[in-house]
């Protein structure tokens, strides 16, 4: 079996061997439903769409994904299993990729279990299912971005609480990079091109354009680059820690 696959299967098994998987999925489903129906005006909006549902995903991920990613490496370091993992005949990137894909697949599963809301909206009206599918894709890509950031931060520490807090903060910055409160301290003394570049890093802008049903290559490239950059940083961090 391929190294990535071996690591991925082990990770997934571990999720389901502890209450972690079940707690995560249940909380994710409950919260996403609660936001949709209480704040999203799902019924009163009078539209057969899942916009009310997807609008809250970035905010859900902001707290739930770091809870998932914080353990990826910090726990291995704490329990000493990292010594076992890194002395197996695997490349470091294989371990990083295996762990990342396991966590991504797992969030994909949680996302899959939201299908009753898709059935509901199809029962109530005639939504554009293409848009819904695109929004699911966007949501999954965004989760991947959060996870890659979280995995990298988890590799820098052996303290899961620190990993959690730092990941929330970094993800929050990425979410709001394109918005006034984040940019206003820079306006006036930083060249416009840099401000525009920072704004273009925003999760929200890219996610909202995909979730409107517009699958633009630029948005896909954005998430692909973001994920690979942070996973590469993850590999580098592990290698640097070996030498320090």
């Amino acid at each position: 079996m391929n190294g990535v696959l071996a690591i991925m299967c082990r990770e997934l098994r571990s999720y389901f061997a502890t209450p972690l998987a079940y707690v995560f999925i249940v909380i994710f489903l409950v919260l996403s439903g609660w936001f949709t129906f209480n704040f999203g005006n799902f019924y009163n909006g009078g539209q057969a769409s899942l916009a009310a549902f997807f609008n809250y995903h970035p905010w859900l991920y902001l707290f739930l994904v770091p809870a998932l990613s914080m353990r990826l490496w910090a726990e291995e370091r704490k329990t000493g299993t990292i010594e076992l993992l890194l002395t197996l005949p695997l490349e470091v990137w294989e371990s990083v990729a295996g762990k990342f894909f396991a966590s991504w697949l797992f969030t994909g599963m949680a996302l899959f279990f939201t299908f009753p809301i898709w059935i509901t909206v199809n029962y109530l009206g005639n939504p554009d299912n293409g848009v819904i599918l695109a929004a699911y894709l966007g949501s999954l890509l965004m989760a991947g971005g959060f996870l890659a950031i979280g995995s990298f931060i988890s590799a820098t520490t052996n303290n899961q609480v620190i990993a959690f807090i730092l990941t929330v903060v970094v993800c929050f910055i990425f979410l709001l990079a394109g918005f006034q409160p984040m940019l206003s301290p820079l306006v006036g003394w930083v060249p416009q091109i840099i401000i525009d570049s920072i704004a273009s890093l925003s999760f929200l802008t890219h996610f909202s354009s995909i979730s409107k049903g517009v699958i633009d290559l630029r948005d896909l490239v954005y998430f692909a680059l973001l994920i690979s950059t942070f996973l590469y940083a993850n590999v580098l961090t592990l290698n640097i820690k070996k030498g320090s």
Binding site: A6, S14, T79, G80, L84, S244
Partner: protein
């Protein structure tokens, strides 16, 4: 063959391992000895490729651990300090994961798994989660993981720590059985273990090699080597006997253990005073209740070499 050249590891200003150079050949069972913090674990981590040295090189079976890491790691079975494993997994799924990540396929996979279950007596605990296992079983799962791919090189960091005497005996038997064709490095602070399994011992302290020899030769460095201990039926004669023995040319000096009225005669270099003492005793008509030839004491050599206590 393992070849360490000028191996050095620094953590900031702290030098954990300082310019170690040594080779280990197949068939050698090398015991790493040293006080806590001497650099044993760091050295093993460097050889296993978990840490990158600050300076120096390690090659395992001809593969450089840094530039040909995956090939080198394939040759190595490694039991890290404390035998870490994933507590939420069962022993079976943990060992299957190791088999997968070491790419052990086909019929050989089941054969190897069954073999290590049998060798380490894991059959009854295979479906228990590792965090419910006793310390002894956890350690054995760690050992099973290390020998699963029948490696050329075994690096075991305190393999018998936390095992009861029966389990220690079993593990040492296992190491002896595997030692013929392999390179085995174990670290330990149990000196009896060195006697039981090693044919070479390296004593390190403060990251440096202080002695590198066979356990037998190390024992000859002990002042107890070839010393003679006697007890008398009539302990009141002890001082008279001591004077007589002290004057023998083979004897360097004598000591009396007040606690159990035992007299020990230490030999002059290269001498064996046993015969002279028995002859003297027969001539003088002393009644010995105990008389024996001491072998060297590794613990005493260890203390002398590492400066833990003046011997």
């Amino acid at each position: 063959m393992i070849n360490c050249q000028g191996l050095t590891k620094k953590y900031g200003p702290l030098v954990a391992v300082n310019n170690l150079t040594f080779q280990v050949q197949p068939g050698e069972v090398l015991g790493f000895l040293g006080p806590n913090g001497a650099g044993k674990t760091t050295t093993m981590r460097l050889i296993a490729g978990f840490l990158t040295p600050t300076a120096g090189k390690v090659s395992v079976c001809g593969f450089d651990i840094e530039t040909q890491a995956t090939e080198a790691k394939r040759m190595i079975g490694y039991l890290p300090e404390g035998a870490p494993s994933y507590p939420e997994m069962t022993a079976r799924s943990f060992l299957e994961f190791i088999a997968d990540s070491r790419r052990i396929h086909g019929p050989n996979r089941l054969h190897r798994l069954n073999e290590v279950y049998r060798l380490l007596h894991l059959e009854h605990v295979l479906d228990q989660k590792i965090d419910t296992l006793s310390k002894g079983y956890t350690r054995r799962v760690g050992l099973a993981q290390a020998i699963l791919h029948d490696p050329e090189v075994l690096i075991l960091d305190e393999p018998t720590d936390g095992l009861d005497p029966n389990q220690k005996y079993e593990v040492r038997k296992l190491i002896n059985k595997m030692s013929e064709s392999k390179i085995i490095i174990i670290s330990t602070h149990l000196l009896e273990e060195v006697d039981a399994v090693c044919n070479r011992a390296i004593i390190i302290s403060d990251g440096q090699i202080l002695a590198d020899d066979t356990p037998k030769n190390l024992e000859t460095r002990s002042k107890f080597y070839n010393a003679v201990s006697i007890k008398l039926s009539n302990p009141s004669q002890l001082n008279v006997v001591r004077e007589a023995i002290d004057s023998l040319s083979e004897v360097a000096n004598t000591e009396i253990d007040e606690h159990n009225n035992q007299l020990t005669a230490f030999p002059n270099k290269g001498k064996v005073p046993l015969e002279a003492i028995t002859e003297l005793g027969a001539a003088k008509g002393w009644q010995f209740s105990e008389l024996h030839l001491e072998s060297g004491r590794l613990d005493e050599v260890f203390r002398t070499i590492t400066g833990g206590e003046a011997a």
